[in-house]
Amino acid sequence: MAVIVAVVVTAIVGILGAGALLLDRRPPAPAGEQNGMNRHLAVAAILWVIFTALSLAGAVAMDPFPTGAAPEAAFSDHAFRLMTYMGAPILGLVLAGLVYSVLTFRSVGGADAEDGPPMKGTGMVPKVWLGATTALAVTVMVSPGLTGLAEMRADRTSDMTIKMTGQRWSWTADYPGGITSDELVLPVNKRVKFEVTAPEGDVLHSFWVPAFRNKIDAVPGMTTVTYITPNRIGDGKDDVAYRVQCAELCGLMHARMAMNVRVVDAAEYDKWLAGKVKK
């Protein structure tokens, strides 16, 4: 899907861009010079395709993500990839223009060097460019932007609620039934509503589990909410993506304000909970 989008975007931008450059109204030039310019454009266009293809190949091959342990994570990574694909033709265009110009249009220079052709960009090019970039920007706004935002908010149901409190410099997880823990243990495939806060008189913190790709600040005197459905069993002892990391500068021990996260199966969760209740 994403690859198709990328190819379509590349094609559209390519056609618009090449058309725009050819449409540019320049002062009439000698026939030879005009042919030369067309050849320059053709080679640069090929370079553009090559750079775009290379960037796309890189984007397809890359896997920069930490472990994803929730549908929310897959959703975020998908948006990340989509934007990388859409960025590839733009990066390709700039690289092609830059590299080709530097290689081809260099001169020995000097204060009295000859002038280049007086292209002022008063013709169609800027208008076409404006149209193309606006179309691209609107595309990104709509998807993954606004549609993504809507999707993130779509499901406000949950199977359980955990209250997360950030205080300088530790986290506390409050489970239903008055159970308090300094480790975040979550049953797999259960949708959890996190109510995040900080005590009055404390400072800002931010609740972030890299494996869930989600983050919400803990604000003194306020409760913020986020939803996660963990879907992959894991333990912060083996994988740093499973940790609650404070992601808002909170003073002296900010770097160390982390809490272990464990996603476990239902049986193990019940066992853990029972152990907590006994204490």
């Binding site: 990066l91 249009f105 960009g121 008063t122 090019v125 990104v140 993130m152 989600n214 500068l249």
Partner: protein, 604 residues
């Protein structure tokens, strides 16, 4: 001598302010000294003493009270005191901020040493926070002020055919407020620092140690510098243009400075207000931000970003101007789509004021704010795209003279593309909720501000160096500086995107061992990047002291500053020039020269 006097008067002012407060406090049965309050009262008095000492009295204020103002000396000593010549002030800004840049850069080296391995190496957590915070505010101050302060002051008045800025005294005043800012920040660090970064978010900034008070005082002062500078540029560019210098003939550097100044003038007040509110919460017991007494921490984030996002355009708009200037003259081509670029710059100014809350997608602000700020933020890519069109159209088919300034300008294009594209991930909610406050953000803003603005700064610095100093710089050292800096920069910041996505958050003194490999690489590359500035510094000092005499117009450029001697005479022009054509008429058959320098109306 005036510098020494400045320090003495500043010290006396501090003592007077603190003493008066102490006397009042003692009479009320309180302790004589109360750190936060004493500093807050003594600091402004010290500031007045400093200004009087460095020449504000001798050259300016005395006249108001019936005295005769002193005449400024001609030699090197004029750079070390209150002077109203825009060219002197430009160099004062340039040297001061390059020094601050190098100092904040050294701090970055220490930070990279600390972050090379897990565990604590060089610092403890407290010292790390202080270093990180100082690096942050030091570099932000440099980025906000260096292009406009140095080249805006030096070059813009000449470019528009003026003899000075509209308000030379205010110009001098705003520069001389800068050293106290830098000195106060350094003193704050020496006294133990502060730990809120450059953003000073409450409630932490209200609760934390007293270094924060010095930060707030210094940075509020810096806000005053920015606002005064902004007014001065706006008025100068509107009213001091030479005959025939229509808005459509303004060199793009002037437009960039104008656009940046509008933002500095209108928005900086928000930041200053936020900092004063924090100071009031700290010192006089108000509760703007304390939840316990009805305050809101989110309030500050809104006020802060209402300035601090536009601030990045205060940084890059003059930088766009400088880069486009260099690209046009050194490609010997008209600036491509000039009027579109002007429109884009003003479009950025307009949009800059309505995008701030994209810094707050994870802050807990109301949900309905997310969608509009997402859309508005991504709209900024449209005018920015026009700038890229101009950049590519200008170098295309040109006669590229690839000297050091051109190299930096070309590198700017690449870096800013990466910076711009990665910004989209942060404007989009689904990715931002993961990437916010990670090293991805660190890499992104270093690509825009350092890869963008600072590369533009060096383009401008090498480009105008012959004009400002009257000397040629060493091309070989310049190219060595460029290549080491460019390569070091890429190697340092590309991996930061990766380690950020992987889950390393920013502003941390220590990190999980899993990220060690990446951090070793980043630190090594960072040191390479640091080494490049040795070549830069050596080049600048040697060339300035003993470089060859520069020609009036070594680049063969068309704008006004190159039509007069290097360095320019005291009042720039014997006669006010007449502008007859746009500044970028390269290759246009039969074009008249941009300006006529003689036979014009005599200056009144």
């Amino acid at each position: 001598m005036p510098l020494l006097l400045g320090f003495i008067f500043g010290g006396v002012g501090f003592a007077v302010g603190a003493g008066l407060l102490g006397a009042i406090r003692t009479s009320m049965g309180l302790e004589f000294w109360s750190t936060d309050m004493s500093w807050s009262i003594a600091y402004p008095v010290a500031l007045l003493g400093w200004l009087a000492g460095v020449g504000g009295w001798k050259y300016w204020a005395t006249e108001w009270f019936g005295g005769t103002p002193a005449v400024s000396p001609k030699g090197v000593s004029r750079y070390f005191e209150f002077n109203m010549d825009h060219k002197v002030i430009g160099i004062q800004y340039g040297v001061t901020f390059v020094a601050l840049f190098l100092l904040s850069g050294l701090t970055a080296m220490a930070i990279r040493y600390e972050l090379m391995h897990p565990g604590m190496q060089l610092f403890n957590e407290d010292q790390y926070n202080a270093a990180m915070s100082f690096h942050g505010i030091g570099m932000v101050a440099v980025a906000v002020a260096i292009v406009m302060g140095c080249f805006g002051n030096y070059v813009v008045p000449i470019m528009i055919g003026a003899r000075d800025m509209a308000f030379p005294r205010i110009n001098a005043l705003s520069f001389w407020l800068v050293p106290p800012v830098a000195i106060t920040l350094v003193i704050a660090v020496l006294l133990g620092g502060w730990d809120t970064g450059w953003t000073a978010y409450p409630p932490l900034s209200v609760l934390t140690k007293s270094g924060q008070t010095l930060f707030n005082l210094a940075v509020t002062t810096f806000g005053v510098v920015s606002i005064l500078g902004g007014i001065n540029f706006i008025v100068t560019i509107i009213y001091e243009r030479a005959p025939g210098m229509t808005w459509g003939r303004l060199p793009i550097m002037v437009w960039g400075t104008f656009a940046g100044s509008i933002i500095a003038f209108f928005f900086t007040q928000g930041f200053a207000a936020g900092l004063l509110m924090v100071l009031f919460d700290r010192v006089i017991g108000t509760s703007f931000f304390g939840a316990a007494h009805g305050g809101s921490a989110l309030l500050y984030e809104h006020v802060f970003w209402f300035y601090s996002h536009p601030a990045v355009y205060v940084m890059v708009l003059p930088a766009f101007g400088a880069v486009l200037e260099v690209l046009s003259h050194m490609s010997r081509k008209p600036l491509y789509a000039y009027k579109w670029v002007v429109g884009a710059m003003l479009g950025i100014v307009a949009l800059s004021g309505v995008v701030w809350a994209h810094h707050m997608f994870t802050s807990g602000m109301a949900d309905y704010l997310h969608a509009p700020f997402l859309v508005l933020t991504e709209m900024i890519s449209i005018p920015t795209g026009i700038i890229f069109l101009s950049v590519l159209g200008t170098i295309w088919a040109g006669r590229l003279w690839v000297r050091t300034p051109m190299l930096f300008a070309l590198a700017f294009i690449f870096n800013f593309t990466i910076g711009g594209l990665t910004g989209i991930y942060l404007a989009d909610m689904p990715t931002d909720v993961h990437l916010h406050d990670t090293y991805f953000v660190v890499a992104h803003f270093h690509y825009t501000i350092m890869g963008g603005e600072i590369f533009a700064l060096f383009a401008a610095l090498y480009y105008w160096f012959p004009k400002m100093t009257g000397r040629e710089f060493n091309e070989t050292l310049g190219k060595i500086h460029f290549f080491i800096m460019f390569i070091g920069f890429q190697l340092t910041f590309i991996p930061m995107f990766q380690v950020g996505v992987r889950g390393m958050n920013r502003r941390i003194a220590d990190f999980p061992a899993a990220y060690e490999g990446a951090n070793v690489w980043i630190s090594m590359s960072g040191f390479l990047l640091g080494i490049s500035f040795i070549f830069f510094t050596v080049n600048m000092i040697l060339s300035w002291v003993r470089g060859r005499q520069a020609a009036a117009n070594p680049w063969g450029a068309s704008t006004l500053e190159w039509q007069i001697s290097s360095p320019p005479p005291e009042h720039n022009f014997d006669e006010i020039p007449v502008i007859q054509e746009g500044p970028y008429e390269y290759g246009v058959p039969g074009a008249t020269p941009h300006a006529r320098l003689t036979g014009a109306v005599k200056h009144a």
